[in-house]
Symmetry: C2
Subunit: 229 residues, 2 copies
């Protein structure tokens, strides 16, 4: 398996390249970096067969449309997404196959109402690509795009934190220079996961009072068109 | 083994945490991030036993002195370093042991006259922490601090590129959001490694005409004092 974590410095977004048997998938690609993805795919002798987003992003524009145009890859978004431009959708519990790899989709709403986590089991390791649901020592905000702190609590405590402690956590963003964590580490040390119940979590998330992302008014409609506006 | 790659956004520096059997080493720690290293070590239940620099940095201040002060860890720099503040030095071919891990030091001058690469063999994988000698799709500049393009050519072509193609390359910096590569990939696709001989490499490096790092006048003397000025 080929695995690369790629960082977009403008939006602090992580994009993941996974490949096997010459076939590749990109998770959460950023439109500004399309040329560098194409170069890397070529250098590693890979065919991009699939590009997927964990959710409709508000802080950057997706490369799904541009990658499909340039490579002919399939593009898929969650069935709850308002983007009707992708080739297809996925729903909770679906499996997405790339080479010999299988990504299982876990519906983890809360940051948005179309937020998913992708789970990969490979060579004895389990990894989750958590988008903005679970970040390293943080969680994604829940105050726009039909976000819901109550749903996110369930996604975290009834779904992701039930995974084995040694599960690798690969987030959709990081703002502090951290790249990977584990479910056990987040469970023990993520300050937002130390709440005693859902009410405390909802109060915590509702008290954050964050400014809107700078790109939100541009990015959300653009992403509903797979970046092709 | 515990492995973490940590990114300093101000200087685009990678710091590496390697640990085994509860003992940890930090490679190229940045002084501004000392508190976050200490927190992470505590959360992962690790004792920092060693902090090392690949070379005397000109773009950030090392955390070696501060980490030693706070944790009592050993600090070591290359024997060619002008920093006489460390506990000890290492030289070409030395082995540094942390838990059950062994780092082998490879003298790879060129970016500076005290530049080293650390090699780790673990669980069938070989990884090199190349500092500023070999970057992803680049190499470190050779125009100050007794840098020498001719020496760097030898360090690259007669040393690092002789390693097996599947050797993981973990650089000291990246400015484009890339985190890891391999010797095979760099050999084939790093534009600076496509030269036909040492003269072409020297000409290439001497034509770069780069401005000095913003922090150079502060960082170099500070680093010669292990960051404690």
């Amino acid at each position: 398996m080929i695995f690369r974590q790629l960082f977009d410095q403008t939006s602090s977004t992580y994009t993941y390249l996974l490949a096997d048997q010459g076939q590749a998938v990109l998770i959460d690609p950023v439109i500004d970096n399309t040329d560098s993805y194409i170069t890397l795919l070529k250098e590693l002798d890979l065919t991009l067969v699939l590009a997927i987003d964990t959710h409709t992003h508000a802080d950057h524009i997706t490369a799904l449309g541009k990658l499909r145009e340039l490579t002919g890859c399939e593009t898929r978004v969650g069935e709850q997404s308002k983007a009707d431009c992708a080739n297809g959708t996925y729903r909770d519990g679906d499996t997405l196959n790339v080479g010999g790899l299988t990504l299982t989709t876990l519906f983890t709403p809360g940051h948005t109402d179309d937020s998913y986590t992708f789970m990969l089991e490979h060579d004895g390791d389990t990894s989750v690509f958590t988008g903005d649901t679970l970040l390293i020592r943080g969680t994604g905000r829940t105050d726009f795009q039909n976000g819901n702190a109550r749903d996110q609590y369930q996604s975290l405590f009834s779904n992701l934190l039930k995974l084995p402690a040694h599960t690798w956590v690969y987030p959709g963003h990081d703002y502090k220079g951290w790249m990977v964590s584990t479910i056990g580490e987040e469970s023990a040390h993520n300050p937002r996961l130390q709440v005693k119940d859902v009410e405390e979590y909802v109060n915590l998330m509702n008290s954050l009072d964050l400014p809107n992302p700078k790109m939100m008014d541009v990015a959300v409609p653009a992403n509903q068109a797979c970046g092709e506006v």
